[in-house]
């Protein structure tokens, strides 16, 4: 089975500051990769590099058997296949929830309005947002907005979903409702790479957990191994701080 996404020797710096250093990562179809690590360890930057929102300084990113880190590659063609959800939701405030969800299918993928709306309605329903479709995003709670953002990302049938700390801006009581549907999507076989601070979620849902420290993937492996028997002292130290008990 060939990998869906393969990163080798990725390097990214802002001026003198090296944010990602020799990062390598392989994502197989149906994998759920959780990136953990403290703020500033490079989790978000890594996700932004994967769908070409950031130019990289070195290394190779291959997606669906083609190198996408080549400057001659059309970034929009890549992004059509990859969905992304941001920490701050980033819904478009001037559009209704339904229009947020049908914008890309209609404008980028050329789907007809009726078809795009049917698909969006179906997903909104699955995510418990059927009665919010006609509202504007600012009328929704944070959890509802983030679920709507997830629907927006899924409406284009991406083969890979990138989630950038999508629960970090939510009240603790709203975190659950968002993670619940991420879990459901994972169980449906969606391939995902997500940066998260929710260790319990990572332990339950991830197929692989990567611990990032100062721009490097210090350690990666199945959650059982990382959480109960970490190899590196830094990982142990990080887990001691974030895990209760």
């Amino acid at each position: 089975m060939s990998a869906l996404l393969e990163v080798t020797g990725l390097r990214k710096s802002y001026g003198d500051k090296v944010v990602l250093d020799d990062v390598s990562l392989t994502v197989q179809p149906h994998d759920v990769i959780c990136l953990i690590g403290s703020s500033g360890s490079g989790k978000s930057t890594l996700l932004r590099c994967l769908n070409l929102l950031e130019d990289i300084d070195d290394g190779v990113i291959r997606f669906e058997d083609a190198e996408i880190s080549d400057p001659r590659v059309d970034a929009r063609a890549v992004r059509k296949r990859i969905g992304m959800v941001f920490q701050a939701y980033n819904l478009f405030p001037h559009l209704t929830v339904l229009d947020n969800c049908t914008l890309a299918p209609r404008q980028v993928h050329g789907v007809r309005r009726a078809e795009a709306e049917a698909r969006a309605q179906e997903l909104l329903e699955r995510f418990g947002l059927a009665d919010q479709a006609a509202k504007h995003p600012d009328k929704l709670s944070g959890g509802q907005q983030q679920r709507a953002a997830l629907v927006r990302a899924l409406c284009t049938h991406p083969t890979l979903l990138l989630l950038d700390e999508i629960t970090a801006a939510l009240d603790p009581e709203l975190v659950g409702e968002v993670l619940e549907i991420v879990r459901a999507e994972a169980e449906r076989g969606m391939t995902m790479v997500l940066a998260t601070h929710e260790m319990a979620f990572a332990r339950d849902v991830a197929t692989t957990v990567c611990f990032l420290d100062q721009g490097r993937i210090l350690e990666q492996g199945p959650p059982a191994e990382i959480f109960s028997n970490p190899r590196e002292e830094r990982t142990r130290h990080f887990l001691r701080r974030v895990l209760p008990g």
């Binding site: 710096s13 003198d16 500051k17 090296v18 300084d57 070195d58 080549d70 400057p71 001659r72 100062q214």
Partner: protein, 283 residues
Amino acid sequence: MSAVGWTPSEREQERARARRSIRRRGVLLATAATVVVLGLLVVGIVASPGWDRFRETFLSWPHAKEAFPDIAKGFWLNVKMFLVAEPLILLLGGAVAIVRSTVSPLLTPVRVLAVLYTDFFRGVPTILVVFLFAFGIPALRLQGVPNDLAVLGTAALVLSYGAYVAEVIRAGIESVHPSQVASAEALGLSRAQAMRFVVLPQGVRRVTPPLMNDFVSLQKDTALVGAVGVFESLFAAQDYGNYTFNYTPYLVTAAFFVALTIPLARFTDWMGRRMMERERGSR
């Protein structure tokens, strides 16, 4: 961790070459497109049937030289009108905008006046306001009111543009989120203080580009005062044309205005960009 001790891989060097070649192709394409489009424009104009006649009446170097001193003198008047009008417009527009954003019941009559003022002066063509001022005010024979047409014309511009600028500034004030007022009031600031120290600075900064746009437009509209016989640059050019039947001075005047407005327009662009970078981060 620093950038030292890292050499780009073979692949990265190749990519850098590819990026360079893409950039080179972009520059080449831009140059070619510009040359072709401008070339076609020039050819289209020069090949027009009346080109020879046009060149005689609009592009005569001797006439340009002869009219230049009068136009330059007139243009200095344009610049003076602009320099006097601009600060007055800012003051007037700011005052009207602030008045319109007040809520005190005591200020209702002033608010009504402010609304009437903006409605009237934005609705009436600027040149008509100039006419009304230049001919109407001297006719009233008021004591102590100057009869100089340039002064009256400038006053007309101030009132006309003040109404536009007031609306732009009001838009800025209203764009500031109510939570900003709430947090200012929570600190114990009065409504006026909140306006002065919190709302106005943010609002005005946000509408600086459209304000500058209005000022570029004002620079040009100082030429409207020429319509009542004030010897500013356009009227000087017109005067010259009436005697010699040569219209080259119009293009000379145009060159003067463009030379003044282009720097201001670039400055506007630069300021807008800088503000965006400061507020959103430069990435």
